[in-house]
Amino acid sequence: TISNSVDEMMIPPMTKRTRHCNEENEDKFSDLPDCVLIHILSFLNTKNAVGTCILSTRWKHLWKRIPTLTLHCSDFSTLRSFDKFVSSILSLRDDSIVLHSLDFDRNGSVESRLLKKVANYVFSHNVKLRRLGIDVKGDICHILPCISSCQTLTSLKLSVSPKGRYNYEKTLFPKSLNLPMLTYLHLGNFAFCAGGDGPIEPFSAFNRLNGLVIDNCTVKDTQILCISSETLVSLTMRNHSFDFYRIELSAPSLCTFAFIGTPYQMLCGRHLNAIKQVNIDAEMLANYTEPPMILLSWLIDLANIKSLTVSASTLQVLSLIPDFLKDKLSFLRSLKSLKVKLKPLAYGLSMTLKTDKLEKALKAGSELSSPIPDGIVDFLLQNSPSTDVDIADCSRFDDSFDQLPPISSSLFPQFLQPSSQEHVMDDLHQRIQQLKKVVLLTKQYLHLAKEEITRERDELLALKGHMMRLSKTLDALEQQMHMAMNLWQ
């Protein structure tokens, strides 16, 4: 087939494009070099990549030479088959091929032996490793030495929760991590612990840090988390806990702040003015007092926001501040662009709003159920009326908020979220109180709804479903408390 390569060029493109029109087409992509095929395979999850071994003789051993390993348990039917896969890959992969990237993501408590095996593999292939991701439930001491050894690492995603059925504790963030080339750091389920002297600055050692994601993390023995970095440009946080602490930013280059979840942490620091772009997707399960106020304080304290992107639920959370539309605020003076992303509201928040609005409606007779609260856009733009406003339906596809995987949903996950508070029993007690409050609220809504919307049978049916889910959640939580009590006493 070498000789016909010149002839093939003479074939007009339209003929060439038609499949099966002549025999020469059969092997038309076979002249792609191995390295190009390996390039394609490196973008696949490793399970798929290994699967190509039965395509033909040429592909039989190609997978052994891929420089990236994407090992996700979600690609497997059981954890046992996943573990077997990981072991086999590490044994059979061509040892002489450099490793550029390894991403190991496994649910449930991982056997120390497997974790050590992965760590050893990283350790012995760390010369050119640029990207490392480890998301496990296990003991961080098994992987810490291997991470520290990867001096070429530019991207690290680390989520380590302690073993055990419930995640009452977080893993303490190691102080000794020194990765000079690191530009992107994603941390999940860590507690940043105060040292002997002064506030904690866990990130000041990463001299090139550009992007930081703090997912479901907290602080221990302190009320302040300092984020100090000369180079940090983008900060993303997700929080579903009730942990109240302050985040002190000392990051003069910080330009983008993104937040997902329930706002419980105050922002402070000298460089808040540097932040130009803010993305917020806030939600609440019930009508708590603090988060709406904290959300508003962010918009006031981040005085130089040029571009603000919010989900509709963020505006709904803001609207729960009593009478706040009447206030004249000196905020958002530099705003040039406001984007509102319409997405279906989370269940808890939509119930809270319904109750809140129905109360108001019974008093004042105002309209119900608009995805964006009336008057709120004008309120946000009171100091920058010429801002571009873009309202987009994002139930389909979303760029800025989708970088964090969704928290698995059963019952009301926010209530069953791992907690980091020192006193587990207190925390559980607090949550039960909060959940009871929601139950009360819903009962109240049921009562109001009976008066107001007796004709809307669908609504009533949905409410009953809601009550059932709530009581199931409450049962689960009480059972959890019971078990925790046995565990701790």
Partner: protein, 156 residues
């Protein structure tokens, strides 16, 4: 940089089907095969035949290079362009562009195409992938069964 030394103002690229494209030097910077050729020259214009790339494909590659070489375009606009660029292509187009990218030694465009192709074959059946790359299996059914058994840890 080597490219700055060259005095070339306009580069004429001639595709396999004879179609002609006139481009500025910054457009071909990504095409290392072309770049290394013009680095050697000291003249204002040059014609380069590309016998392995068809006109339709070259037009798309140039469109991509123009967008990505532009300093006025924002990162978001470029991402949006990439998204639409891949969307309007059939799988054959992607493979031909990948071939062209490999021939022209275009690192980031090759990466872009490889990623788009990977997205199409991810989680697909063996038959689908064979058909996609137009691979004729040279395994007997027995050999294939043997191979599956040998690597059964990867098929669960």
């Amino acid at each position: 940089m080597a490219a700055e030394k060259s005095s070339i103002k306009i580069i004429t690229l001639i595709a396999a089907d004879g179609s002609v494209f006139e481009v500025e030097p910054n457009i071909v910077k990504e095409m290392k095969t072309v770049q290394s050729y013009i680095d050697e020259l000291d003249q204002n214009t040059v014609s380069i035949p590309l016998p392995n790339v068809f006109g339709n494909d070259l037009a798309m590659i140039i469109e991509y290079c123009k967008k990505h070489a532009s300093e006025e375009e924002t990162k978001e606009a470029k991402e949006e362009f990439d998204f639409e660029f891949v969307k309007r292509m059939k799988s054959d187009d992607k493979l031909r562009l990948l071939q062209a990218a490999s021939y022209l030694n275009m690192e980031s465009f090759l990466q872009f195409m490889a990623k788009a192709i990977a997205a199409e074959i991810e989680n697909q059946s063996v038959e689908f992938v064979r058909d996609y790359f137009q691979i004729e299996s040279d395994f007997t059914p027995e050999e294939e069964a043997e191979l599956r058994k040998e690597n059964e840890w990867a098929f669960k």
